[in-house]
């Protein structure tokens, strides 16, 4: 494909652009997958997005899809598109490690519902992506296996915990990826790597087969090169699932119908605490203010309002998520699956020794924090208190949505930081989640789209927060912003 005198490689394109090439017989599914595999061959050593690459399986699958196309069978809009999954999403027969020594050799006997849906849509699984161990962290440095580097600057983190998912899409090592978001784990890496990331409404994507971290907060979502691809992936993965008791049983819209370049009359609220709070990097702030100006010029009505509970979101989040994690991770006992210590004295010591050797530092820290918050004498002071604050946070958003169609703000206080810069200070790392955790606490959808670059040429992401099940409004505003800016067209040069 030719663009401005330069040959554009297949791996650089979006899913909808590749679909056009497939339809017009200008590229085959095998050529597309081969292009992505070649790209992995060329840059993976530098980026480190993948824990597992399924080269042969991917080529076989691409061949099978191409045969369908050749026979004139209809395939879905994502048919033949190479994609990758965060390694906490179970894939039958393909190792799923959660980036933990605990699940080093775990091969799931079943597919997560999202994996099943993507296979049924004839997408091509290229591999499984790096993350912070059990999705706990904001830099992907907590992986047992490897560091992932930010494709825009290899000395910097890609964000986390879905750092592998964001880096691989930014580097062209997959056309799209799925991540999971418990406190910002899709949106913050999307912001750091300059890609589009959506954390959907709690309950709209099945969590069946997602290795549990904090069950009342976890949600799977897409990381893509643009908003159109985001809508296409959402159409493929959302919906009610009887295998997830928290799955919402309602009709889901066709999200591509929301790809409308128009925000006239849209009411957008910007929390003062997000824009003028301490610790927000001035370049990030300016990029967000510029984005607001773009939307205003296009006819949106934007105003600032107060969301006073913001500063309590992080302490509430770390109590709730760690409490749920300590309970969820109790299942890793070295008995039925996962890591078992070689030396132990009795059954109790088998549990303790296997857990102590199988879990990494951050996971142990969260298990300890959660166990403490749930322990006798502290339950009311910490866990119950955090759940009451959760009510206040939810009420704050309910009130905002009585006035606004959506809420807008930054995604993270800064752009991508240097590898190793924050790893020794867990509390400082936690504070980076200030703008993202409230969305999980309240179960809302949050979309991140690229909105600028700082002076180091590092991407900045704009966060749009919507009413429950109103992803369509986010997609519409994100799409309009994208159609009127160029940020999403820039690719990391590796």
């Amino acid at each position: 494909m030719n663009s401005g005198g330069r040959i554009v490689e297949l791996f650089e394109l979006t899913a909808h652009e590749l679909k056009d090439l497939l339809n017009n017989k200008k590229a085959s599914a095998v050529e597309i997958t081969q292009s992505v595999l070649d790209r992995i061959q060329n840059v993976e050593e530098k980026v480190g997005s993948y824990i597992t690459v399924c080269k042969d399986e991917a080529l076989n699958r691409a061949k099978a899809v191409q045969e369908k196309i050749d026979k004139g069978e209809s395939i879905s809009l994502l048919g033949g598109i190479p994609m990758a999954l965060k390694d906490n999403i179970c894939t039958e027969g393909v190792k799923t490690t959660c980036a933990s020594n605990m699940l080093n050799n775990f091969i799931p006997p079943y597919n997560a519902t999202v994996a099943k849906k993507l296979y049924e849509a004839d997408t091509v699984l290229v591999g499984k992506l790096n993350l912070d161990e059990f999705a706990m962290g904001g830099s992907t440095e907590n992986s047992y296996f490897k560091k992932t580097c930010n494709p825009w600057d290899l000395e910097r983190v890609p964000g986390g915990s879905s750092g592998g998912s964001a880096a691989c899409v930014a580097a062209g090592e997959a056309v799209f990826a799925l991540g999971s978001d418990t406190g910002g784990s899709i949106r913050q890496p999307a912001s750091f790597c300059g890609v589009v990331g959506l954390k959907p409404t709690y309950g709209s994507i099945s969590r069946y087969g997602l290795v549990a971290f904090a069950s009342s907060l976890d949600q799977i979502g897409p990381l893509t090169k643009d908003v159109t691809d985001c809508a296409l992936v959402m159409n493929a993965i959302c919906g009610h699932d009887p295998m997830d008791s928290t799955s919402i049983n309602s009709g889901y819209p066709d999200f591509t119908k929301a790809l409308i370049n128009d925000v006239k009359g849209m009411k957008i609220g910007i929390p003062k605490e997000y824009l003028h709070g301490e610790g927000l990097n001035s370049e990030v702030k300016n990029a967000v203010i510029n984005a607001v100006e773009v939307l205003k010029k296009l006819g949106a009505e934007c105003e600032e309002f107060s969301l006073p509970i913001t500063e309590y979101a992080i302490p509430a989040y770390y109590i709730i998520s760690s409490a749920e994690a300590s309970s969820n991770l109790a299942r890793y006992d070295g008995v039925k699956y996962g890591y078992r210590a070689e030396k132990f004295t009795d059954l109790l010591d088998l549990y303790k020794q296997s857990r102590s050797e199988g879990f990494g530092t951050e996971v142990k820290r969260r298990i300890m924090l959660g166990t403490y918050a749930l322990s006798s004498g502290y339950y009311d002071a910490y866990y119950k208190k955090a759940l009451q604050v959760r009510t206040l946070i939810k009420n704050g958003f309910d009130e905002a949505f009585s006035k606004y169609d959506l809420v807008l703000g930054p995604t993270a206080p800064s752009t991508a930081y240097k590898i190793g810069e924050k790893i020794d200070d867990p509390l400082e790392m936690y504070l980076g989640d200030i703008f993202t955790v409230s969305v999980n606490i309240a179960g809302l959808p949050g979309l991140v789209v690229p909105c600028g670059f700082d002076s180091n040429k590092l991407p900045i992401g704009l966060q749009l927060i919507g009413k429950p099940l109103d992803e369509s409004t986010l997609i519409r505003v994100g799409y309009t912003f994208e159609q009127n800016t160029e940020y999403h067209k820039l690719r990391a040069k590796i």
Binding site: I248, Y372, K394
Partner: protein
């Protein structure tokens, strides 16, 4: 709430973790910092506020009790760290 060495040792026991001396020292300090930050929540009066465990109005989800195909035993045992005669093998638990 003050986090002491004894607190860490007690919680580690509850969480089924064997911590090294270095881990105990580090966690005592780190958890102390995190907990004193979390104590910020006490600035808010929540005496009349209902706790929200879950954002959705969750109800029990019932289904008919039907026999369906289940997992293959060998496939599930493939992930067991130790097995014998189609069972997961564990150390002796009764004398």
């Amino acid at each position: 709430m003050k986090i002491t060495r004894e607190t860490i040792e007690h919680v580690a026991q509850l969480a089924r973790l064997n911590l090294t001396e270095a881990e105990i020292v580090k966690l005592t300090s780190e958890m102390g910092n995190i907990i004193s930050y979390v104590d910020k929540l006490n600035e808010l009066d929540t005496s009349d506020i209902q706790p929200t465990a879950h954002v959705m109005p969750l109800k029990n989800v019932f289904r008919d009790d039907e026999v369906k195909e289940s997992f293959d035993r060998e496939k599930l045992l493939a992930n067991a760290p130790s097995k014998e005669n189609g069972c997961v093998k564990v150390p002796k638990v009764v004398e």
